[in-house]
Symmetry: C2
Subunit: 306 residues, 2 copies
């Protein structure tokens, strides 16, 4: 383990973003987040990347108290669309929209998604880096209520209600981990799968061909932080997705989904045959986020010799 080796966090939305924010307090610039891009949506002429941007806003201490978007953002364009009679199902602040508009412009110019996230990170002055899992478009589609939904529509228009009858990662077969992702994994001090939805936040990352192999081949230990707290899900429709996958809503169910990439798990209940750090998974504030990140990293470091 060399000083400066990256600590990699795989993250979807809020859970992974909070852990990444805590990890930035622990390792600063050595943090590398690999973010899910399968929730990306092209709307309002913009390319919106909800998960990478949520992580970036958290790392920049710019996340709004509502839990998404930039702090203090306004919603004049959405108000304007409503005045035009548009059904605004996907709400986006004005500065958030500016980010998505500029990203769409850069992508149309031929920039990689990786570059656009790096540019945003620099502009907002975040510690470390936020990488997309791949530069190719992968999009989660959810079968529920007798139809198939793009992920954001399922979450918002579909009310994120189960039961879930299917999950697909469109485009995944043609995607590849980026060179930046492969490099971070190969040189990592530790790799942490954040407490995000295993199916729709972490699932698309693991579905990128070559990603599981890169995780298995990485010298660093791979540990997951379970999103299941006291037998329940803190946020979002994780239970319905785990039911579809035939897994219990438990740390064991999470571990089963991640399979052989895991070297250990951070949870509040044991998982058979897997090294465990049993700890409080709540991240109620900055202290809690830093604590869970520090404990998780120490746990991973301890597995390295194992």
């Amino acid at each position: 383990m060399s000083a400066g080796a990256p600590v990699v966090v795989l993250a979807g939305g809020t859970g992974g973003a909070k852990l990444a924010r805590g990890m930035a307090d622990v390792v600063g610039e050595d943090l590398v987040v690999i973010a899910n891009t399968a929730d990306d949506v092209e709307i309002y002429g913009a390319h919106v990347s909800p998960d990478p941007d949520l992580v970036t806003f958290w790392l920049a201490d710019r996340i709004d108290a509502r839990g998404w978007g930039l702090d203090g953002d306004t919603f004049a364009v959405m108000d304007g669309l409503r005045e035009l009679g548009v059904e605004v199902w996907f709400n986006l602040g004005d500065r958030d929209l500016a980010i998505g508009i500029e990203r769409a412009r850069r992508l149309a110019q031929g920039a990689r998604l990786t570059e656009t996230l790096a540019e945003l990170g620099r502009t907002l002055g975040i510690p470390g880096r936020v990488l997309p899992m791949c530069d190719e478009p992968v999009r989660t589609r959810v079968r529920a209520h007798g139809r198939e939904w793009p992920f954001q529509e399922f979450m918002i228009r579909g009310g994120a209600r189960g039961p879930v009858d299917g999950v697909a990662y469109d485009g995944a077969p043609d995607a590849r981990p980026t060179p930046e992702v492969l490099d971070a994994l190969a040189h990592a001090r530790a790799i942490v799968i954040g407490p995000s939805n295993p199916l729709v936040s972490i699932g698309p990352i693991l579905a990128v061909p070559g990603m599981r192999a890169a995780l298995r081949a990485a010298p660093a230990p791979v540990v997951a932080v379970s999103p299941i707290v006291a037998g329940a899900v803190l946020k979002g429709p994780t239970a319905a997705f785990m039911a579809w996958a035939g897994q219990p809503v438990s740390a064991a169910g999470v571990a089963a989904l991640y399979g052989d990439v895991l070297d250990g798990i951070v949870a509040d209940e044991p998982v058979a045959h897997l090294p465990l750090l049993e700890t409080d998974l709540l991240m109620a504030d900055a202290t809690g986020r830093e604590r869970l990140a520090r404990e998780t990293l120490a746990f991973a470091d301890g597995l390295r010799g194992g």
Copy 2:
């Protein structure tokens, strides 16, 4: 002349829009504006139609005191883009952007530009109708300062400075007047060419193949309101464009550019061999706009018997 026959105003930017607003006071719902769309620009993921929107905002009494855009609009997205390091050369308010975003979405769905302008007009509750000159993309390009500029870039980034070395209407050969435009011209009570730049505001309208023929074939008289006031141009780079076209900055120069479509001219100086309404061309306020519109319509009505 039947009651309810349209009074058609050909308009580019501010001059034509003000006259149209005055004409709405005179004829109300019978107003039909044929607007220049060759200044349209696709930017920020939006389809922006500066001239049709300017006319629409004037007709809705929603034009901002700055002379463009919606009254009281905010600029949060432009501020956001600047914060991202984007050079914002084309300034657009948030609600104005919402209009352009929704228009781009509708056009991508297959809607005609005509439909999108009708939808905006209904939303803003304007009297009469604003029609695009055509549904096909036509774009004015200006040669100046040793390069060729898209029109908006010439006006804003190029400072609208002459000398002008060339004007082209890209796409015009493939454009046609819409059925709505042809119907309005064929059934008009009067056709008024508004006091807009003859080369870059009215020029593209007349460059649509079939438009001049439709004007000549229309039973209604066609009269132009000169944009030249007391031998000078009130607003914009008209002089540089007229110099390029080899015409004097005078009502005679304007009449020469419009050629044989004209049955009369409203100006503050005579034009040889052309019926003239000599009057005050200033439209300083609502009273002035209504006066010039009323006088122009009476002049056109008088030519009908000639």
